[in-house]
């Protein structure tokens, strides 16, 4: 028994050494990438070119389901972005609340005939509307079919060669689209571009704009600020250098429409349609040997509301991880296949054996360590020391995300916010991390039972925060 415990313990240690070494590699790769990206972001010639009429026209797709609280502010903010040629297609996905009424009232909608070809299948469309006050706006009212279905309906109705999927509760910064088109303007063969999603909770918001970014004082949203920084600022930047991103956030990602149409749009049977679509794009374009890049640009920013309660967080994390498991299972044929290049040899294995299996191995490590201590085969001081070293490594990764934020973007100017970020980076590993491991572990159970569905995300709406100073 003791030998088994020792062997399993050693395997868990080796697993985490390999995984953490890969994280360290991502971290190292993120450095030259952020250096390059910040230099490009500051290039005024490029900005002037982007501000000219030269950048390609874009269709912004906004699926909305029960978004009554935030829809007007979000759409108003999207309609006033700094970009010359774009349209906004809002899809009311059979909302049960007053989303459609709110849109009618706010934008003075009138019905128009449908003249677009329905290339991608979607649930029946009840009506198509345009706005008397906002010429860029198109609203599709359709029967409920989920986010992917709504995006497919919006792609059908879109007119422009680039489409950007945006969540209705997401606040896009005015210059974010200009910045997001930088890879296109630079002439890269881009299939998709992702921007940074940041946490809006606690920030000062007015008229659908984040006026002053703040780190929320509450633990749960606060710790997610650190998580998002880590995920976007070194995870995805690192992947830019390691062969392309596998994730373009569904809340803020720009795609070339012709490729989306070629792969049949978003899959309605996937609960992480953003992840699924990027994996399929990689597969399709590699199969066809089409040169392409799927990249991440850090300076365009969209702000989103993150869960403030454990129940909502649990549903969200379970769904994300369940989606990861199902997607990795569905596309396991890409694993280690040379034809898929670094995506097959690095990206897919990392997401399968690193991201997907990590909660299982972590819990196994806790159980085996406890068993080892109970059986007396593990030295208590060494076990404690190992635990602390593991937690400290997690802390270093989080603080590295904060360093990249400070060096590259400095959105949180107050010393108090910086202090909070550091505090949450330290506290994240005591309780929160274990909690999310548990949620992700539950996802294995629900994935086996193949329970789909999004879970409910209760929106509170973007009320002016920071003590209402900006209201």
């Amino acid at each position: 028994m003791s030998e088994v415990v020792r062997a399993v313990d050693a395997s868990v240690i080796v697993y985490f050494v390999v995984l953490n070494s890969f994280y360290a590699l991502l971290l190292v790769m993120a450095l030259p990438e952020i250096w390059a990206q910040t230099r490009l972001a500051e290039d005024e010639n490029l900005l002037r070119l982007q501000e000219s009429g030269a950048p390609p026209p874009i269709s912004i797709l906004v699926p909305a389901y029960n978004e009554e609280a935030t829809i007007e502010a979000s759409i108003t903010a999207i309609l006033t972005l700094d970009y010359r040629h774009y349209e906004v297609i809002v899809v009311n996905d059979g909302s049960k609340d007053g989303t459609m009424d709110r849109l009618h009232e706010a934008f003075d909608l009138y019905e128009v005939p449908r003249i677009h070809p329905e290339t991608l299948a979607s649930r029946p469309i009840r009506a198509l509307f345009r706005s008397r006050t906002r010429p860029r706006l198109v609203v599709i009212d359709k029967e409920n079919g989920g986010k992917a279905d709504s995006l497919n309906a919006a792609i059908n109705a879109s007119r422009w060669p680039l489409v950007i999927a945006v969540d209705a509760d997401t606040l896009i910064e005015p210059d974010a689209m200009l910045r997001l088109t930088r890879p296109f303007v630079m002439g890269l063969k881009v299939a998709a571009v992702g921007g940074t999603v940041r946490v809006a909770n606690g920030s000062v918001i007015r008229d659908g704009r984040v006026l002053e970014p703040r780190v929320p004082p509450r633990f749960l949203p606060g710790v997610q600020v650190v998580e998002y920084l880590r995920s976007f600022l070194y995870g995805r930047l690192g992947w830019n250098r390691l062969g392309g991103n596998l994730i373009i956030s569904g809340a803020f990602g720009l795609f070339r429409k012709e490729f989306l149409l070629e792969i049949g749009g978003y899959r309605t049977d996937s609960i992480v349609e953003d992840f699924d679509v990027v994996v399929r794009l990689h597969r399709h374009l590699r199969d066809r040997r089409t040169p392409y890049v799927i990249t991440f640009v850090p300076d365009p920013v969209a702000w989103t509301e993150v869960p403030e309660s454990l129940a909502v967080l649990r549903r969200q994390r379970e769904r994300w991880h369940r989606g990861l498991i199902l997607t990795m299972w569905k596309y396991h044929g890409m694993l280690f296949r040379p034809r898929y290049g670094r995506i097959g040899s690095l990206g897919m294995p990392f997401f399968t054996f690193g991201e997907m299996l990590a909660p299982l191995v972590e819990v196994l490590g806790y159980v085996v360590t406890a068993a080892g201590l109970w059986l007396g085969v593990l030295d208590v001081p060494i076990a404690v020391l190992f635990f602390l070293v593991a937690l400290s490594y997690g802390m270093i990764l989080s603080i590295w995300g904060i360093v990249l934020e400070e060096v590259g973007f400095r959105r949180y100017r107050r010393w108090g916010d910086l202090g909070r970020l550091l505090l949450f980076a330290a506290l994240e590993n005591f309780g929160y991390r274990q909690l999310t491991v548990w949620y992700r572990l539950r996802a294995f159970w629900s994935a086996m039972r193949d329970r789909s569905g999004w879970g409910r995300m209760t929106r509170t709406g973007f009320a002016p925060a920071g003590g209402g100073t900006a209201s």
């Binding site: 290039d43 010639n45 030269a54 128009v112 345009r130 002439g187 890269l188 020391l385 603080i399 360093v403």
Partner: protein, 353 residues
């Protein structure tokens, strides 16, 4: 070494790393604050000097000196910012005044730097301060593999568009993305005397695989001197060339263009027909009414839609044609006419864009 020793070493290493990261965050903030405090007053002095020079109160020498006091990156940024507001001979005088300064000599030397961001800084500087003597440096930057560098250098063509430089740009045109093409079309517009003969020469190379992009650029450039060269390609065997010709001819309203476009409305490729009827809609000459009406019955939906939209731009004649089609015998034409007639003027404007 025991596992405990190893773990202690790792823990010590982590502690040092953590302390270093925290220190880096603090030092980074401190350095930035100090730098801002140091640069800001100098930037104010520069802006005052620029304002004085713009009003003719001081000479460019004082501006050059104020620029010299700034860190190079800030000086380049300030120059690029002011270049958008001040142009012409006065700006040339400043460029001359900056010509022999040590910091500008270093920037010019950076054209050959290995690091692309140093070449980018050089390109940004030359984009606003290049003199005819810099043509060789600009030529080198225009061929740079980093897109940001050659885009920045492209702006220098507004000041020094020699035939050699324009030839380099046209040579790279087939590999350029549409937005970059549009950028070059805009910076080269002031020097059409140099650009047009070179473009006409390139348009004459009918077997050039990059020809579609050259025709596209010619359309963007929109100079009347290019019309005949573009029109001559209307019968080209490559479909993509004909698509670009049809699109470009919409920017050259002329009887010769209309004649070519009328022929292209019956092209075997629907993409060409769609672009041709769209271009005829932009030219909006009533003589093309029968061609557009005929396309209402096209076998491809997009061509029918474009033809109906084009008819809405032909005034009362076009509207009458749509009303006739709406009650006509052709089901496809009837449907598209009903669709377009049902749109509000606002929606119509947007769809016709």
């Amino acid at each position: 070494m025991t596992s405990r020793d190893l773990l202690i070493i790792v823990a010590v290493g982590q502690s040092v790393t953590l302390a270093a990261l925290l220190g880096a965050i603090g030092v980074n903030r401190w350095i930035r604050q100090r730098r801002r405090a140091r640069v800001l007053p100098r930037r104010v002095v520069l802006d005052q000097a620029m304002n004085g020079w713009a009003l003719g109160e001081i000479g460019p020498e004082l501006v050059a000196r104020a620029l010299e006091d700034l860190p190079t990156a800030d000086a380049v940024e300030a120059l690029v910012g002011w270049a958008g507001r001040l142009r012409g001979e006065r700006w040339q005088a400043l460029a001359q005044a900056l010509d022999q300064r040590p910091w500008t000599a270093r920037l010019r030397a950076a054209v050959r730097a290995r690091a692309w961001w140093r070449r980018l800084q050089a390109a940004r500087f030359l984009s606003v301060a290049a003199t005819p003597a810099d043509a060789g440096l600009v030529a080198r930057l225009l061929g740079d593999a980093q897109p940001a560098v050659h885009i920045a250098a492209g702006a220098a063509l507004e000041r020094i568009a020699t035939p050699h430089l324009v030839r380099i740009v046209i040579g790279r045109m087939p590999e350029m993305a549409a937005p970059v093409q549009a950028h070059y079309a805009s910076v080269l517009r002031t020097t059409h005397g140099v650009v047009v003969p070179l473009l006409v020469e390139r348009l004459g190379q009918v077997y050039d695989p990059g020809l579609p992009r050259i025709v596209e650029f010619a359309g963007r450039f929109g100079d009347a001197g290019l019309r005949e060269a573009v029109r001559a390609l209307a019968g080209h065997s490559n479909q993509e060339v004909r698509v670009q010709v049809a699109r470009a001819l919409g920017d050259f309203p002329h009887t010769a263009s209309i004649a070519a476009l009328r022929t292209l409305t019956t092209d075997s490729a629907w993409e060409v027909r769609a672009q041709a009827v769209r271009a005829l809609g932009r030219i909006a000459d009533s003589v093309t009414l029968p061609d557009l009406v005929a396309r209402l019955g096209d076998s491809v939906w997009w061509v029918r839609l474009r033809a109906a939209l084009a008819l809405t731009r032909l005034g009362a004649g076009g509207r009458d044609a749509l009303l006739t089609a709406e009650i006509g015998s052709q089901p496809d034409a009837r449907f598209v006419a009903r669709l377009i007639l049902g749109l509000t003027p606002q929606a119509l404007t947007e769809f016709a864009a």
